[in-house]
Symmetry: C2
Subunit: 360 residues, 2 copies
């Protein structure tokens, strides 16, 4: 931003002022801040107005806060800090819309920013939001928002979508279903489970990432999603689905609990992903192969922010492209509903040899 | 809450844990957290699903933060603190929906709470949200939300509504329109402009409020709204409208600017309100009648959080019940569009005698 490189230009949000902040954001959003798509009336009135053609509106909200979801120290400039926060906040919320089997249509943003924040943060944030929305679909819009002051950065996003027909709920997985996980971007060959967690570990270690490690940082800082995963899963006959955002095991337990079933995950399906993550664990100081494998299993099973779709399909269904089979669904006869197994046994016992259980 | 009075019960949110916090909130919301009204699928999945019968969905979001919008020191218990925040956050957002001429249908809540916060805060917050929603309409629901940790309390609310027909936009006031302000609750005789600001001054002064002063505290801490004001204004033929939340003058300037008109406010219409506010100013230390009157004008014209509807009606329209005529709309010939006058002149000049201008 040339304006911010002249010595007299405002350096902090307090110097910039609310109107100028909103101007900068609106400029960064570009056409995404105008009406179009489902957005009939956008920024500038008391509230936004959207068309809801199907009569079924899907809506979610989440807040990301400094030091909980991101750290200023990860970034070399205020602009890259803002860009990552904008990107993460949008993707996290769109992922919830996708996981309902809906098309995202718009987001609203509510920002709490400290007055001493560098003004360039705003430009980066706007660019990050715009990039994440543009990647997700041409018809997405920024419908509105709010700006306030507070002690640290906090970004609340509300995402909206439309569900043209049935929904992908989490309470309807059926015995004999196949469990599968979707890709992290359209056209990606397979899911990146554990990549964002590995990227987080690199960031927390403060390491300068190598060329090979950079995609893991990107998975954490600039996550992508496959915006049609939910709609494609429904078209393939999926019975149930949810967003993997708090770690594969935890979200699989949620699916099993909500549906009253047992889910058996096959470790075979995950081994290729573990193998790919192991060098990161070594680079981060794992001394032995076993410790590296344990760390990789930890990222894969318990890491968060994967933003992929976990869905259960009838056994005879053909999985949508980019989906990877992970296991099977059983009725809750021998085990309690909500139980998740790994190769038919307690995950902690199966992974004992890998040392994984000690990382829980 | 009896559970929190036993010595072993959790005292902080960290001790309570996320699941118990959500349980407590859901209990406090009661039937408001279940499906019904427009809510087809609520808390518990990736996102909520709402019916949008009219095909026109109205949506807004706002964040309230500690020390910006409320102070812990105003409250004698964590429960009353939470109750006020829940109440304020809901009303502030519903007011924006009402000001579009829409019926509110649901809210989503995204909470950032410090781990050391007293667990009773949660019960109070739930009760405040429930009270504000119940007062606003039987069909309103809590559709979903999010819970995270942060350094201080921050509450983001997204409110949704349905607009059955035309909208009450802010850009369509017409020359010769009559400007009027709506009441603060259904059936109230007149608007309470400045009451919340007077209440805030009492709180900031740390005074123990007298019986007479308590309604002003309530206007600040537990604001009410007339949820049908927008729909009734549209039915009466209103051309334009917006929510008065940042002070009458500032929001009148917004209406005039968006519509490209000049608005002339009549001081006569406001004098009864000023007279009512003067004793508060005296109680807060205004030494002379003139100073008290100046303070009252300040609250009325520049105070915030009134949450009433400011609308412009055709001259021949009959104002809806509870609406007070405040002035007239003119074409922008002599003055620049967006200008607001008081009795045909610059508000600062007119109020010079009252000392009001020095308070700006």
């Amino acid at each position: 931003m040339p304006a911010s490189q002249t010595p007299d230009s405002p350096r902090t949000l307090a110097e910039l002022g609310e109107d100028a902040i909103l101007d900068r954001l609106t400029r960064a959003f570009g056409p995404l801040a105008g009406t179009g798509g489902a957005l009939m009336l956008g920024i500038g009135d008391d509230a936004a107005v959207l068309r809801a053609d199907s009569g079924q509106l899907v809506i979610t909200t989440d807040t990301l806060t400094e030091d909980q979801d991101f750290r200023p120290g990860w970034f070399s400039t205020p602009e890259s800090y803002g860009e990552s926060v904008g990107h993460q906040a949008v993707v996290q919320n769109l992922s919830d819309i996708v996981a309902m089997g809906a098309h995202p249509t718009a987001v609203l943003l509510s920002l709490v920013l400290p007055p001493e924040l560098d003004a360039d943060w705003v430009d980066g944030f706007g660019a990050g939001v715009a990039a994440a929305l543009s990647a997700a679909g041409a018809d997405l819009r920024v419908a509105g928002g709010d700006l306030g002051a507070g002690p640290s950065v906090s970004v609340s996003v509300t995402a909206l979508g439309e569900a043209p027909g049935s929904l992908l709920r989490r309470d309807s997985a059926q015995p004999a279903d196949v469990l599968a996980v979707g890709p992290s971007s359209p056209g990606a060959a397979r899911s990146p489970l554990g990549s964002a967690a590995a990227g987080l570990a690199l960031l927390e270690a403060g390491m300068l990432a190598s060329e090979v490690q950079r995609p893991y940082l990107a998975a954490q800082l600039y996550p992508s999603i496959d915006v049609s995963a939910g709609v494609r899963a429904l078209a393939a006959g999926a019975h149930a689905g949810l967003d993997v955002s708090d770690g594969l095991l935890r979200d699989t337990v949620r699916l099993a609990s909500a549906s009253g079933v047992v889910i058996d995950v096959e470790s075979e399906a995950l081994r290729a992903m573990v193998t790919e993550l192991e060098p990161l664990a070594v680079a981060l100081g794992a001394q032995e192969a076993e410790a590296a494998r344990a760390q990789a299993w930890g990222w894969l099973l318990s890491g968060g922010e994967d933003y992929v779709l976990l869905a259960s399909f009838p056994a005879e269904a053909e999985l949508p492209s980019g989906f990877t089979r992970l296991g099977t669904v059983h009725g809750a006869a021998a085990e309690a509903p909500g139980t998740v197994l790994l190769d038919g046994a307690d995950p902690a016992a199966v992974l004992k040899g890998t040392g994984w259980d000690s990382l829980r």
